[in-house]
Symmetry: C3
């Protein structure tokens, strides 16, 4: 068996032997080996080939494919094929089809036309997983498994089917035991929503208007648990039938549909699919008033969008320190409104950044561009005519051995939590307010100060950190509050707006924000202001002695959101100037705890810089697109811009990265 | 019993005892009384608490709540709870659920999940109303009733259910008696739409393309009549079981879904729910090319948007002269895309304006911000932590006795009519054309000239007016034409574009516009031009003697719409310059009647100013955001701007109002 | 019998006697004759009047109407009324209703509520067609037939009904014979989409995400074939029962829903409905970055939008050289977001252009504006009050005999193909990429160079052309490639981006672009770049000798799309400058074949100008809005601008056209 983690960066590729004539397989495998690739991920979506008729398996082709890769010295990662149920299954069991938010049945014709709360779908997924694991579980070339593919893709994490309705009602019964408890937790006295029978509870869609957020929150939890259970059934079989092999799943970036922490439990590590140019779409989805970012980085993606997800998936499993990039963009994608070619050097830059953020393996998607079906316009390492595409030469020039592997653990943590995400985005209350956008603003501020960041769950061990930043931790429980209080004894903590605004059922504490966290923060919420696009709220540093009537020397401006506080032990570091919040506290400090109530990118950066300096973490302001990422004593200096940058006496070529030895890092 | 109308402004509050632990009730009631509030509106949406199981009533909690308010000296307005059917009712009778335009069933989970054309829903609503009225109808603390809540909220005024289909076919049979009559009225020879059986008539939705406007118009009338009948059943019970108490309903601003005049019949007065900052959304819905209004007045709302609705609801019941603001915003709302804090002083300004426009009572929504469910981010007088919010202090500083009550009756009327509204908006024909926007343009022009306006139904008594303005009276009948002819004998009348373009079934007269009104207007429609955004049509004053080739000294510009006339007795006051309408009449005059065919805000103002001056009404041009409103000999001078204004020697503080004595009003 | 084609331009009108009282018919007919109209098209949509109850026909009114027209000397074009099934038919057979993409049934209430794949609808349509043809097929005043009306109107070319599903599965069985063939053709190994039974194949809608384009393509073919078969059934009856009369159909402009070439087969000529101001909407639908076009030509439409469709329909039936404008806008329309009045002179200009592009007949829509139903705001030659509208006088002043008729055949052909259109628009891959927009860019470039263009099917006879331009010929077969190779022996050919990117089943060739056309082109695709809005890619002329480091003297800029080529015999005429395609070939030439890989309007014009000059076709650059169109030795010089233009010494009045004699055309 392989050790779980390699000693240096390894490369891989996603391949689909079933998409090409068999007479090319050996040549492809040899070329993959020659290119320096070690892993090949296969069999994703190939259910109709493995089981062309119910329980009639055809393994011959897959036997030969695996043998071909093995003969070329490649190691195989197998996928359970359950993300693409075959047509016979849909015909026999149309009840497995997911139902969309507006009630429509989502039919076959693409992929993921399956409802994970369907008992029959669960059963048939177990059956094919077991058959596959029995066949290949102990094959010497098979080193690991990917469960399914991209859970939630195509907006399928939630289904509004009869199966989901029955499952949701059952799930609620287990969670709340009595309807009184549920009615109280959800606040159903509001608008006469009280339930007198479990079967009266509808799925939270198609209501006349907004749904009770408590209702919607529990449905998100339920739906997430369907994925947890679905995958656990596969993992149980794989553990039993394929001992010594790893299991992982390939998640998507910035995906909100389920609790990735819970879904990762039971896996050996998390993987994700990194498409930096496509990920720029996130900026549009967040309605960020920053169109230049999407334009300027159209050919590379933005370093912090990709970096955020690297750090996110590295932080799964309690901060495991490692992850795979299971699918790495190596040319243009096909799923954004426009799909520019990556810049020269981008594939190398992306690979190096992934390593620097803790990737064990970077596996390119895909070997050869498909000549059929939905993804014909998506690139691969080879073009349709089988000649190398632009990314091929960049991979060829990479030497993975230059990138030694080790766990990544940083001194600054950013707290992330899917339940807070759901609550934020269920009731944003202001245009431009979005959980991801808010988290990203803090993350980007840290990265722009040259700081490496761990992204971890708020309930995880925070003992190693000098600074903990919680940009949007809106859901608070008594236990979590105690945990954070303990952490604050030895670390600086920063909270963003709406911290502890919600209880675990999505209500607001009867004592108002900060509820259970009030003691730690030393303050209470005073007002929150939701600023229309184009409106700003000025902020200045709080001073005790500035003469009346003098203008503050520096002003910051909040956009989208500004909340103010009543001090109950805390002191005001910044105050609002003018407007309805005039004179009220905008940023407060209480012991080791700082709360930033205003959404202002420059103010966030200013406060973080002061705290980092105070913690001895030496913030280093970096130009836009220039980034530092550190792993195991090495520093990767990156320029993501299309133009050269001169910085601290160094000339950085466009779209490039270089490794700095420790001695060089006196920048 | 109370007299129906108070002698000065009274204040009230909307409270929800069922949302908080009972041990707070007495403190809340005492605080309400101490704040100067006299009325408390309760029990809205509390059906599941009153009738937790079918016909098993629980009155104990409500007995105690009413007793608590009564003990504190408050007077109670009770609501029938029928806007929020409980879960057991939906489970037993899912056929009560409304169907949306695209055919989907609108499920429970929020509120108003009820189809008023459902016979069983009607029956169960009568049952709970009767039980409630029997219990509290003669309670000494109960002074009045609100029927239901905000009819039509959540786009429920129309339902496309089987019950609605059956009801609509029956309603048509009663209206038209024979299918020949219907086919002729609707013009069904067009596109082979003739019906040979009443059951062949579909609901007007889900057709391949646009629906016959005659068909859509009658469905709007039918749907409106469902609300009329539904409410009448409640009012009948309340009149019988709760003698001496008033009945009202809390309407919404700028709501198009039903005929508010007909729904108000049978009530004692109209009420409406005033949310000035949220109402700014109307500007977006109307696609007005005036984005600065929404921005500049984001923290106060625009005075004329709020004023229009005050005047609209005051004008119900044949111009009753009084109304209530049943829900008055007193902090930020939660239902616009962004929800800014009101400016300091806004709550006082809103309250004073409501009084000046004829409000008897202003009742704040709500006492304490909810800690649960959909409205957790909506403000109240108290914050979540039960401390006073920003509006509380403003209410505290108000002295309602400064504001004496009296009927309001003005010298200028604006004619408003829901059937014309429906026809306008069914076929706008040009981007930016919208009934409300057109009516608002005339209303705003009058208010900006310092003129108080009554908004009344075109068929109401017009004998008291010096000037009658009908901005968008597109539906004309012979009876209405005779009524207007009679009115024009003694008053100046102004009509806007598309006047009398439609008959009562939504056709155009065989003689074209102005149909039955042609004699009064002294003209016929020549052309109408639908101007794309960015296109304008110049207009100049008509002169008989300007030398050929000389440019007119002043030009106005039409946007969106320009129509021209053939003169048949009228004279042209303004003519189009250039373009396809070059030289044709844009504004015409015939005796006391003026028609403005072009949509031009400055031209509208110019024409109105001349007419007002001619009528001795002394127009007073006001700066943006400065307004004058008069009631009972007092003038309320208001500044809705966030900045101070100097006007006629007076310094007006930002967001403020002051009462001017008669002697001061020589401005 | 009439000869099929008139000797000079003839005029007609669309009339609806069933919309007005019968006592007006004779006056209307007399006035039509007096206005110089020769043809009147009637009975469209009048099914409910002809067959008020099943198989109970009422011909009396239509007998009288035809007699009235005949008595006035007018010739009648009759329409089969099948575009508007009557209410009794829907009531008896609701299964004829079409189903929309989201699964909803499209109900009656407007028109075209019929699914052409419904067997019962086919049967009842044949029945009424037969009855009508038996009654009027040999009537001396009846000279021709229009089948149905505007196939596909209201997005009905595709229906997603059970009938369509059954028909589609049957159609696939006939096309592919075996499922193995279908699975291979569609590439169904991708995402486990292989079918094991014909009944497993769904309609291509409501899938979780994007549909396999092969699947979608075949559904477009199937749906198009439904129209082909539906019409063929009518034409068979008409040929049999109405000998000597022509049959045609009135198509819409820029309509993508079916293969117009196949639907025109079996007709005598194509007709189309020309609404120049409404057609400007196409610019919005194509997302062209050219908003000024829509604004500047709001009152005339753009000459090349209208001209494209004239040339398109003239090119049906293998380049028949003639067509009718069955509905010609003669005032404002009612179906665009805004509907401006046409400029003075526009009706004459449109009529003259239609003639110059080969129209035999221009038939105005409609005689009198409707006073009822959906089109009350659409203009006619008469206004609602029966007085002449603006277009009437323009028609009156026309002398059709000035416009002699003859076949039109030009020296330049533009290849157009609905299967390529479907494939393009199924996977545009970049914002702003759209088949029509791309075809229009080449067409407009040619017209702006003063060149007359035939638009023909790529498989038609190309032997008469000096230059053949294929802007977007993405679907290539071996047979088509041989055909083009043969044509290229004697003509210059120009191909645009993505040429031969797809096989007939929508896959990409295993050898990549250019597949079967590679030999002719002498190159292979290297890269394609999808440019976001705002991104450009520079291009310069390829030179062998420019000194290193010198900037090219002229740069062009690609938007939206840029593809580059590996040369395999071809030479590079232009190369990309900078960016990921730096130095790669942008425009290539191989013998008579040129490929333009970049979307750049100025570069397209430059390349075409050089080729035209080389072919002796004398390109004449024209100012915006000025156009030359030639027919039978006469040249029509047009100015579509609202302002006068001075060009080559001639003063062109605004919105005007004049005929130049051959001697004048030395411009």
């Amino acid at each position: 068996m392989l050790p779980l983690h390699p000693t240096h960066l390894e490369l891989g590729v996603c391949d689909y032997p079933e998409h090409v004539p068999e007479d090319r397989w050996a040549d492809y495998a040899a070329a993959q080996q020659a290119l320096g690739l070690r892993f090949v991920r296969i069999a994703e979506f190939a259910w109709s080939r493995m089981e062309p008729q119910p329980e009639q398996y055809d393994w011959a082709w897959l036997d030969r494919a695996i043998a071909t890769y093995a003969a070329a010295g490649l190691q195989v990662v197998l996928c359970t094929p359950t993300a693409a149920p075959p047509a016979w299954l849909v015909a026999q069991h149309p009840e497995i089809l997911p139902h969309g938010r507006s009630g429509q049945v989502k039919t076959s014709g693409s992929r993921r036309h399956c409802d994970l709360s369907s008992p029959i779908y669960r059963q048939l997924s177990r059956r094919v997983t077991q058959a596959m694991a029995e066949r290949y579980g102990q094959h010497p070339a098979v080193v690991g498994w990917q469960t399914d593919n991209e859970f939630g893709w195509g907006d399928t994490a939630q289904s509004y089917s009869p199966a989901a309705l029955a499952g949701f009602q059952e799930w609620l019964k287990e969670r709340y035991i009595t309807l009184d408890t549920l009615n109280e937790a959800w606040g159903n006295g509001f608008w006469s929503m009280e339930y007198a029978d479990w079967t009266q509870i509808p799925l939270p869609h198609q209501a006349v208007s907004e749904i009770n957020p408590a209702h919607a929150l529990d449905f998100m939890r339920f739906s997430s648990d369907q994925i947890v259970q679905f995958q656990a059934e596969q993992v149980t079989l794989l553990r039993q039938l394929s001992p010594g092999r790893f299991t992982t799943h390939n998640f998507m970036g910035f995906f909100s549909g389920f609790d990735h922490y819970r879904v990762t439990e039971g896996l050996d590590f998390a993987s994700w699919d990194s498409y930096p140019t496509g990920t720029l779409q996130a900026l549009h989805e967040w309605n960020l008033a920053d169109p230049h970012l999407a334009h300027d980085f159209a050919r590379t993606g933005h370093p912090d969008l990709t970096g955020f997800n690297h750090d996110l998936y590295r932080g799964m499993l309690g901060g495991s320190g490692r992850f795979w990039v299971m699918e790495q963009q190596c040319g243009q994608v096909n799923w954004a409104p426009s799909n520019p070619l990556p810049a020269d050097g981008a594939v190398q830059l992306w690979t190096a950044q992934a390593w620097a953020h803790g990737a064990d393996v970077v596996s390119y998607f895909r070997w050869r561009a498909a000549t059929m079906a939905q993804e014909v316009m998506h690139s691969g390492l080879l073009r349709h005519n089988q000649r190398p595409d632009r990314g091929y030469a960049e991979v060829e020039a990479l030497n993975p051995q230059e990138f030694p592997a080790s766990d990544v653990q940083n001194r600054v943590a950013l707290l992330h939590d899917y339940e807070s995400l759901w609550l934020y985005n269920l009731q944003p209350h202001a245009e431009g307010v979005n959980y991801w956008a808010q988290a990203f603003a803090y993350y980007r501020a840290l990265r722009a100060l040259g700081i490496d960041v761990d992204i971890v769950h708020p309930d995880s061990d925070l003992s190693g950190y000098a600074l903990v930043v919680a940009p949007a931790l809106t859901l608070m429980t008594p236990e979590r509050a105690r945990h954070l209080e303990a952490a604050a004894l030895h670390t600086q903590m920063v909270f963003g707006p709406r911290t502890a605004f919600r209880t675990s059922s999505g209500r607001t504490p009867e004592t108002g924000q900060f509820g259970d966290l009030a003691g730690l923060v030393g303050a209470a919420l005073l007002h929150y202001d939701s600023l229309c696009p184009g409106m700003v709220q000025d902020i200045s540093r709080a001073t005790r002695s500035s003469p009346a009537g003098t203008l503050p020397s520096q002003l910051w401006q909040a956009q989208h959101w500004a909340e103010s506080y009543e001090l109950e032990g805390a002191e005001a570091l910044y105050r609002y100037q003018g407007g309805p919040l005039n004179g009220e506290a905008a940023v407060i400090r209480h012991g080791n705890v700082t709360v930033i109530g205003a959404h202002s990118e420059s103010l966030i950066s200013e406060v973080l810089k002061d705290l980092l300096t105070g913690s001895g973490l030496s913030p280093t302001p970096l130009p836009e697109g220039v980034r530092l990422s550190r792993r195991g004593g090495l520093t990767l200096l990156q320029n993501w811009n299309l133009h050269p940058v001169h910085w601290k006496g160094q000339a950085l070529a466009p779209v490039s990265a270089r490794l700095l030895e420790p001695a060089e890092v006196t920048l």
